[in-house]
Symmetry: C2
Subunit: 409 residues, 2 copies
Amino acid sequence: MARIVKKFGGTSVGDVTRIKNVAARVAKAVEDGHEVVVVLSAMSGMTNQLVGYCREASVMHDAREYDAVLAAGEQITIGLLSICLQDLGVPARSFLGWQVPVRTNDMHGAARIETIETEALEKCLSEGRVAVVAGFQGIARDNRIATLGRGGSDTSAVAVAAAVKADRCDIYTDVDGVYTTDPRIVPKARKLEKITYEEMLEMASLGAKVLQTRSVALAMNFGVRVQVLSSFEDLPGTLVVSEDEIVEQEVVSGIAYSRGEAKVTVVGLEDRPGQVSHLFAPLADKNINVDMIVQSASEDGNRTDLTFTVPEDDLARAVEVLESNKEEMKFLDLVYRAGVVKVSVVGVGMRSHAGVARKMFDTLAEKSINVQVISTSEIKISVIIDAEYTELAVRALHTAYGLDVTTEA
Amino acid sequence: MARIVKKFGGTSVGDVTRIKNVAARVAKAVEDGHEVVVVLSAMSGMTNQLVGYCREASVMHDAREYDAVLAAGEQITIGLLSICLQDLGVPARSFLGWQVPVRTNDMHGAARIETIETEALEKCLSEGRVAVVAGFQGIARDNRIATLGRGGSDTSAVAVAAAVKADRCDIYTDVDGVYTTDPRIVPKARKLEKITYEEMLEMASLGAKVLQTRSVALAMNFGVRVQVLSSFEDLPGTLVVSEDEIVEQEVVSGIAYSRGEAKVTVVGLEDRPGQVSHLFAPLADKNINVDMIVQSASEDGNRTDLTFTVPEDDLARAVEVLESNKEEMKFLDLVYRAGVVKVSVVGVGMRSHAGVARKMFDTLAEKSINVQVISTSEIKISVIIDAEYTELAVRALHTAYGLDVTTEA
């Protein structure tokens, strides 16, 4: 017998028929002898509808009232799932954020979970009942409902799993696991049986949008074993676990890519302390997210070139901000271009293996793909290339690192 | 400055545009210097949608889960109204049932309010803010959401008004007040400026569906002054108050009627103690609501005729129940007919005025309308007549008791 937290997203509970499917799946786990806590999102579409109402009411809506409105979505699905489970003869009861309670800070609309009291949940489980918990919501110190922000249900699930010391947290999504790369580009992409938290973090933030980055970080901190699996098929998914659970670590676990990037080079920037932060401060003020930053060596010790990437959609604003501060920032020229892509090779194994970077550059060179920017971390290497080479680069790298699926008997 | 509770129903908060209209109306009261508590229903249609979901989930749904699902409706409207009020510069905050808290018993789905704690509401008002309270819901002893049953928002409003000792409870509806009779039948019907609780109870239960009977009874018990008024026009409505507030009481305040009645006569019932309750017990078991009951004098002291009314829709079942128990109940025959109507003359003034009943019978006789059953209480006289005479009877009585509107300069 295991204790399992199961989280289902908005698509999985999009209507009552689907909620019944979720109930059947949960009933199966209960039949198998497991203790189950379910965490749910709102029906797909419902959250958008409620957000729309709030916007129509006022563009400057009070975050506490917005939270009260939005939290109604999960209230509906947890009640309905409890009814469906009971209908299958599975004892169940729903828990709203304030009933658990899931205590958060007072940052309404983007609250952080502080503690989850487990007494009520433990009592429910000890009575042989399924606890059905509203994701995305908690109760703030001001005794009002607080939501965790978009995608917060994954975070709720992992936090609940940590609190009740669950053996596993199953996150049901519309994909059946984490792949070595995007199967739409590489048909030979393999579903990973296991992946480490660190790799998952790199994969997630690089555009392989399977799990919320925030929930992966939480799982890593509390050592919660997470499984990503399909809500529509009955197959094992991918386990996201700590490194020591993976006996034979591959050097590279996956190839990620992120389209819609733009590259900006500030030419001839005066090379003196504080100049870089001086450059990025106005961008941060405008909420422009700067990603890769590479500074080239200064030739004469006085001036330097600085290259960074921003989301393509923010390029025009970024250029405007920089141009308007050109005098003050003392740089000579601005060169920029949209239509670039970031391709990354990710793997905890590369820590102990030399030659991973070299293989990447060799592979891209063989295909005559020009590398424009390079950035590395302990477990990943990212390059910026022209967007038109995306598929070619991803496929070549996938093969080069031996990730292609092998046809087995 | 007065303290006013304002209740708006589902039609008044049917979409965000209408919620903005409600906000404007509340803002006006605040500008006029009043302290305001607002009680809201869910958006019209929303409650039905949520009930539909629950039914689809299971025909035998857990009332506690049903309550959690349904209570989401008011959660949405109170958040939205608070946002709209703030948008108009009126400080406001929403209160869910458990936040007030409105404490109820554990009868989920049809809970009764036990107490309303006023500390949080008083604090909100003392800070110069509007308190926006979710109607229809409270928190039961089991720490779970309980709903008050259909139409419970009127009851919530009156209960909140009693708790915060409001000067008045305004109930906004789709009619602009209480009329002497149905204006669709009698164009000369007058809007009443005031009506007593007792009369309102009789009018409400007789088919003048303006206020929930339950909320009127509550208002009477706690002496809450209730005003019924239109949510779409800006006119004073009808005040429902205690008798001593009405200086010049008219003898008759209104003529009510109730269609869809059926009459059943049990002929030759054995006249011995307990026989009547013996007759009605199986009807009650089948949830058939018996209304007027009249027993004719027994001729020989052994057998009697008993006539009663039931809703037309229940007639077939009522007859079936009685026939199947005919042997046991020892009656001779059963005579019944649908297509009758109950017409009532209501007025607290008739207590101290003789001749009210006589005027009724004279008026009906003049129009050759046959009275089939008569039943009286302290403040009303009801008769059963053929449905085809409904309009004729109501109009004639309305004129006879001097209720027709008089054209004034």
